[in-house]
């Protein structure tokens, strides 16, 4: 695609309480993370679009620690990061059967 958007936000910026949104979802946390950063150094050098495109803000760069923190507990398992990480630097698996997200409506 040859699309060039100029970061075209038109609507006035809205403040979103993502915590409140995520709070509506039912999760059963897996015992071990199903998402892993393959190489933190790659993230350090990256523009990290995952911090914006992830619908659950799973990825947050910890500047102080110099590492990407992965809040896998809130993952909606949509798979966007699996496809959209510019460096395929995310080891993406399904959470253990029965764990992870379980919607109430869907």
């Amino acid at each position: 695609m040859s699309v060039q958007t100029q970061n075209g936000k038109q609507a006035a910026p809205v403040t979103v309480n993502l915590e409140a949104k995520l709070f509506t979802i039912r999760y059963k946390a897996d015992t071990a993370p199903h998402l892993a950063i393959r190489d933190q150094a790659v993230c350090a050098a990256c523009e990290r679009p995952c911090e914006t495109f992830c619908p659950a803000r799973v990825y947050e760069w910890q500047a102080g620690e110099g590492r990407m923190h992965v809040a896998f507990e809130n993952c909606l398992e949509c798979g966007t990061c699996r496809i959209a990480c510019p460096h395929q630097n995310i080891d993406w698996r399904y959470p253990t059967g029965g764990t992870g997200i379980a919607y109430r409506y869907g």
Binding site: N17, E19, L22, F23, Y27, A29, T31, Q62, G64, E65, H69, A71, E73, N74
Partner: protein
């Protein structure tokens, strides 16, 4: 709890008075017992009846005297070597004999591990209704004299008042820390009734081999105070401060998953979706941003204090008291203040 309407059957009228079963270990009564005597006094007065206490143990006459000082009119004292240590069988056996003799209309027990163990056995033996873990206890005035035992239900989301209309005594266990004890009055007069213990050691199978007191055990579930830290603590040293504050306040240390993952503290301290869910009386969140996976594990806390440098941190949305500042300055100040006020947290009520 049964649902639906029970038929109105005649209430037994030969039972009267309120009986509190006092829990003691090694001659030291649990404060919940005095709290229940306080509440028992209030409802006994409302019913115009007497307040009784049952003290079981070995060489515990002092506890019986104390029960009078805390409001009992009559104290039944079962003092015998077989009651030296708590065991279900001799305690339940003795308590049932006293209940059959004293015929109280209401019998209250502290909702401690021991209290719940005992109350379940007693209620089955006397075939009566028992409401567990109450947080509100009241009575309807005469003539109905019904005990209104209210307790959280459905994962603490609902409150329900449970009634026991046809059987006596009406039994309930009540949580520590929800009722107020009366001031201790050593000059108070009361009747002491010694009751014979009819069960013999040979009839008892259970032996308490040892009691391992473990102050290092992480007991987030029962802790009245939790001082929890997140990434804002900056490292394991940060958690040393929290340990000190928790010790002074009589609580435990909690942590977020990132802090645990960073290896700053053991996983046993983890609170939230991947850790434990807690609901202490006081929760102090230090350097915790308040991501939803943490908040779900602590939002039920009674009072929440949040300390964070970022005024927009989501943790502030659930906090009663917000402190915007550096944990490395605020926490030492809190420690200093707790010391200055000489708070003593070790006798925490919720621990019995």
């Amino acid at each position: 709890m049964a649902k639906g309407k029970a038929q109105e059957v005649q209430v037994p009228t030969d039972h009267e008075g309120v009986l509190i079963i006092v829990e003691q270990h090694g001659g030291q009564a649990k404060s919940v017992s005095w709290q229940l005597l306080g509440q028992g006094r209030r409802i006994a007065d409302k019913l115009g009846t007497r307040l009784m206490a049952l003290v079981m143990g070995h060489q515990v006459e002092e506890v019986a005297q104390e029960a009078i000082a805390y409001g009992a009119d009559v104290v039944y004292l079962a003092d015998d070597p077989v009651l030296e240590q708590y065991r279900t069988q001799p305690y339940a056996h003795t308590a049932v004999e006293v209940i059959r003799e004293a015929k109280p209309e209401i019998c209250l027990v502290g909702a401690t591990y021991t209290g719940r163990d005992l109350a379940g056995a007693i209620a089955t033996l006397v075939e009566t209704g028992l409401t567990a873990d109450c947080t509100q206890i009241d009575v309807e005035p005469p003539p109905s004299r019904l005990l209104l035992a209210s307790r959280p239900a459905m994962g603490e989301k609902l409150m329900a008042t449970i009634l026991c209309k046809q059987r006596r005594p009406q039994m309930a266990t009540a949580r520590p820390g929800v009722f107020e004890a009366l001031p201790k009055d050593p000059s108070r007069q009361g009747e002491l009734v010694r009751v014979p213990v009819t069960i013999r050691e040979e009839e008892i199978a259970a032996r308490v081999l040892e009691f391992i007191r473990d102050p290092n055990r992480v007991n987030l579930e029962d802790a009245p105070v939790i001082v929890a830290g997140g990434m804002g603590m900056g490292g394991p040293e940060g958690f040393e401060m929290l340990r000190e504050l928790a010790r002074l306040l009589g609580g435990e240390v909690g942590a977020t998953r990132p802090a645990v993952d960073a290896g700053w503290i053991d996983r046993a301290h983890q609170i939230g979706q991947t850790g434990q869910t807690v609901r202490p009386k006081l929760y102090i969140a230090c350097g915790i941003s308040g991501a939803v996976q943490h908040v779900v594990g602590m939002e039920g806390s009674q009072v929440i204090v949040a300390i964070n440098q970022d005024p927009d941190a989501p943790i502030f949305q659930v906090a009663d008291y917000r402190i915007v500042g550096d944990v490395h300055q605020i926490v030492p100040a809190l420690i200093e203040e707790a010391r200055r006020r000489a708070l003593v947290g070790e006798e925490a009520v919720a621990r019995g």
